[in-house]
């Protein structure tokens, strides 16, 4: 990481700013919120199992490990508790209920955990469309969409995990040299770190 990379890479996810990191890029002078680890952020094992299944639906196991293998559920719980602002925590926590409500409406009262992988995928495709529409229209200071948070945390948690970085991507701890122009063919994996 360095200054050249900073604005281009860090803090940018899904073509936007990492949730909770707005101040990070704007250089604004707002003091961070006072309260830390707001109500409801001590997530239960059931919560984490739910996050795991949402994450697995976003990034499923294929010939490489899925989000559940990468313990993305636990990662989500840690980030929301330690790094999210209180306002973002509220959105995220309310999102658990909202996701289940949307699920029940579409699947004859079945909760997300009771749904088949196909039903889950179908639901999350709808929610992803919803969050994309919302994000495109939202004003700068409006809160992020809860499903955008979940998707972002999934990608971030997975591709920085050991299974994600070393199996879905390629990781070399000590490259030892730099080559600026090597051949690439479709299907070759991306580097995990830059």
């Amino acid at each position: 990481m360095n200054r050249r990379d900073a604005l281009a890479r860090v803090g940018l996810l899904l073509g936007g700013t990492i949730i909770g990191a707005e101040a990070f890029l704007s250089g604004c002078t707002n003091a961070p919120e006072k309260k830390i680890g707001g109500a409801g952020t001590n997530f239960s094992t059931d919560d984490i199992a739910f996050f795991d299944e949402v994450a697995e639906t976003i990034l499923p196991a294929t010939d490489t490990p899925g989000a559940k293998d990468a313990k993305v559920g636990q990662f989500m719980a840690i980030i929301v508790k330690d790094c999210y602002t209180e306002a973002d925590q509220k959105v995220f926590i309310a999102g658990i209920q909202k996701l289940n409500d949307a699920c029940k409406q579409k699947n004859n009262g079945k909760s997300f955990m009771d749904c088949t992988p196909e039903e889950r995928t179908k639901l999350l495709i709808d929610l992803d469309k919803e969050q994309k529409d919302y994000t495109a229209k939202k004003k700068k200071d409006d809160p992020a969409h809860y499903f955008r948070m979940m998707k972002e945390l999934t990608l971030w948690g997975y591709f920085t995990s050991e299974p994600g970085a070393t199996k879905a991507l390629r990781y070399v701890a000590v490259p030892g040299k730099y080559e600026g122009c090597i051949d690439y063919k479709k299907g070759d994996k991306a580097w995990a770190t830059s």
Binding site: M1, N2, R4, D5, L7, A8, R9, V10, L12, L13, L14, G15, G16, I18, A23, F24, L25, S26, G27, T29, P32, I36, G37, T57, I58, P60, T62, T64, I79, D82, C83, T121, L124, I125, D128, K151, L155, G157, F159, T160, E162, A168, V172, A173, P175, G176, K177, Y178, E179, G180, C181, I182, D183, Y184, K185, D188, K189, A190, W191, T193
Partner: protein, 557 residues
């Protein structure tokens, strides 16, 4: 023992150089560092961790942001290095105008964290104030500093390409790093489009592209600022400190906050320093024949402002009325970026801790703009990673497979502009507010003005124009404004000059009112140029140390 030949205040880039040069010339030297000891390799706690070893995968927590509210505004607030930054709540400052002050109070200072970009100045820079009739003239020219650039480059290890550019002199370079294929293409197209008048070159940086004694070459991990277990880049710890310690003449005292220089008004000389121990709150005095003040631009001024106040209420060096004034920085937080088509069959290996540099062209060689001075750009081309959005993919197998492959090539550049010295861009002591140790804090009152604002418009426009001329598509640009200090190139608080009435330091970095006190960090700068300044601090420090020892031997100080 409390008496030494020399005292060096600070252990960062310039303090490390002062200690090395003075001890190698035979002086017993005390190096005072206000923070804790930070040992080479052993204390680089995160340097060998893998990404998944970081609990928050790079992000800082809300608690860490609370402890470091200033650094939390910046891109410096990341999990790996958050502890490297000063705990801001212990050391507040007053912002008359918004000011981002990046501080690292521990051995090595910001030499561990720096960006390592290393560029020489030319006479276009040293003559700029005189030619423009702005502020005061530099008391030195390129020929005065040239041999010292040679000296520090050879020891520090700076890689780069020889380009023969008058505005960016070549140096004693290690082999250059390589541009990637997109960068090579862009560089060639810029050269052609602007008929050789604009140059995009590989960055010159203090990373080793070949081993030098005691240090391994860069391993292309691109995580320098966590500290390099290979000693692959220049820092106090990897370079100047081992050399100084090898003489047997260096004593390092951590947790030593220098409160003031002791001043003998009859002899007009400093006699030593008064130190507050940051751990015990006890005070100590140390004596020496000469003092090098290398506490970082703003803190060096703070020390002077707190010294000899019985003689000058504004402190030692304030007789000119310029101490604490003329605060400069490089203004940035703007740039342009876009997409390069083609090259889908090319990629890179390794993580290059360096980028490209577009050399200054504005207001040079007959070019005329509606503002003074100029700017350069840093940047790079790269293929997008998993962070990108894949618009057509939603969730599931397709998304995962897409993101497991690299995305399109993008190229981005960030401008770095010269900020003029203005007398009313200043820092003062705020005696109402105290830090953790009960010491008065600095009050920051500096801003970019019309010249910089005009330049910024041009920097954005030229950035877009160059990328478009180079075939980059979908070019977008940004200008997020610039609070002074955010360039991390603070300068000018105790400027050099030819006249004690208008400057704090003379041409050898001596305080006019105390010739055995030398200030050789960013405080001494008379103008800012647009090149990254650390290499110039190194060269000025080595030059001043050589002069100091000569003068000592002659009995002149």
């Amino acid at each position: 023992m409390n008496t030494y030949d020399a005292i060096v205040i600070g252990s960062g880039i310039s303090g490390g150089w002062a200690a090395k040069e003075l001890t190698e010339k035979g002086l017993t030297t005390l190096m005072l560092e206000r923070g804790p000891y930070y040992e080479h390799i052993k204390d680089y706690k995160t340097a060998n961790l893998d990404p998944w070893d970081f609990v928050h995968r790079g992000k800082v927590t809300q608690q860490e942001k609370k402890d470091r509210p200033y650094i939390a505004r910046t891109w410096g607030a990341t999990e790996a290095v958050i502890d490297s930054w000063t705990k801001d709540v212990d050391c507040p400052y007053t912002e008359v105008k918004p000011f981002n002050w990046w501080r690292s109070y521990r051995l090595g200072g910001r030499s561990i964290l720096w960006g390592r970009q290393s560029y020489r100045w030319s006479d276009h820079d040293f003559e700029a104030n005189a030619k423009d009739g702005w502020a005061i003239d530099w008391p030195i020219r390129y020929k005065d500093i040239e041999p010292w650039y040679d000296h520090v480059e050879r020891f520090a290890g700076v890689c780069g390409s020889k380009e023969g550019l008058a505005q960016l002199p070549d140096g004693q370079f290690l082999p250059p790093m390589e541009m990637n294929c997109v960068e090579k293409d862009v560089a060639a197209r810029i050269k052609e489009h602007y008929k050789g008048r604009r140059n995009m070159i590989i960055g010159r940086c203090a990373n080793l592209t070949a081993p030098i004694p005691g240090r391994t070459q860069c391993q292309f991990r691109n995580r320098c600022w966590e500290g390099c277990p290979f000693g692959g880049y220049f820092s106090t710890q990897s370079s100047t400190l081992p050399a100084a310690l090898a003489t047997g003449k260096l004593t390092v005292r951590p947790y030593s906050i220098v409160m003031r220089l002791l001043y003998d008004k009859d002899k007009k000389r400093a006699t030593g320093v008064e130190v507050l121990d940051a751990e015990t709150n006890k005070t100590y005095t140390f004596y020496s024949k000469i003092v090098f003040v290398n506490a970082s631009a703003l803190n060096s001024a703070w020390i002077l402002m707190n010294s000899a106040t019985d003689v000058w209420p504004g402190g030692l060096g304030s007789s000119s009325g310029e101490l604490g004034h003329n605060i400069m920085d490089h203004h940035y937080n703007l740039g342009a970026a876009g997409v390069m088509e083609g090259y889908e069959d090319k990629y890179v290996y390794g993580r290059r801790a360096n980028g490209i540099y577009i050399v200054r062209f504005a207001n040079l060689f007959g070019d005329k703009r509606d503002y003074l001075r100029g700017f350069g750009y840093q940047g790079s081309a790269s293929r997008e990673g998993w962070q990108r959005d894949v618009a057509e993919m939603s969730v599931g197998v397709g998304l995962k497979e897409s993101l497991s492959e690299p995305g399109q090539w993008t190229m981005g550049i960030t401008g770095f502009g010269e900020l003029l010295p203005y007398h009313d861009n200043k820092i003062t002591l705020d005696k109402e507010k105290k830090d953790k140790w009960g010491l008065p804090v600095l009050s920051m009152d500096a801003e970019i003005k019309n010249n910089e604002k005009k330049m910024r418009k041009d920097m954005v426009a030229e950035g877009v124009a160059m990328l478009e001329a180079a075939g980059i598509k979908k070019v977008h640009s940004w200008d997020n404004g610039h609070p002074v200090g955010d360039g991390i190139h603070e300068m000018g608080s105790a400027r050099m000059g030819r006249d004690p009435k208008t400057s704090v330091l003379n041409k050898h970095n001596q305080v006019w009112d105390a010739l055995n006190v030398f200030v050789t960090d960013g405080a001494c700068m008379t103008s800012a140029a647009c090149q990254n300044p650390s290499l110039t601090y190194m060269a000025l420090t080595a030059r001043a140390a050589d002069f100091a020892v000569t003068e000592l031997k002659k009995g002149n100080i």
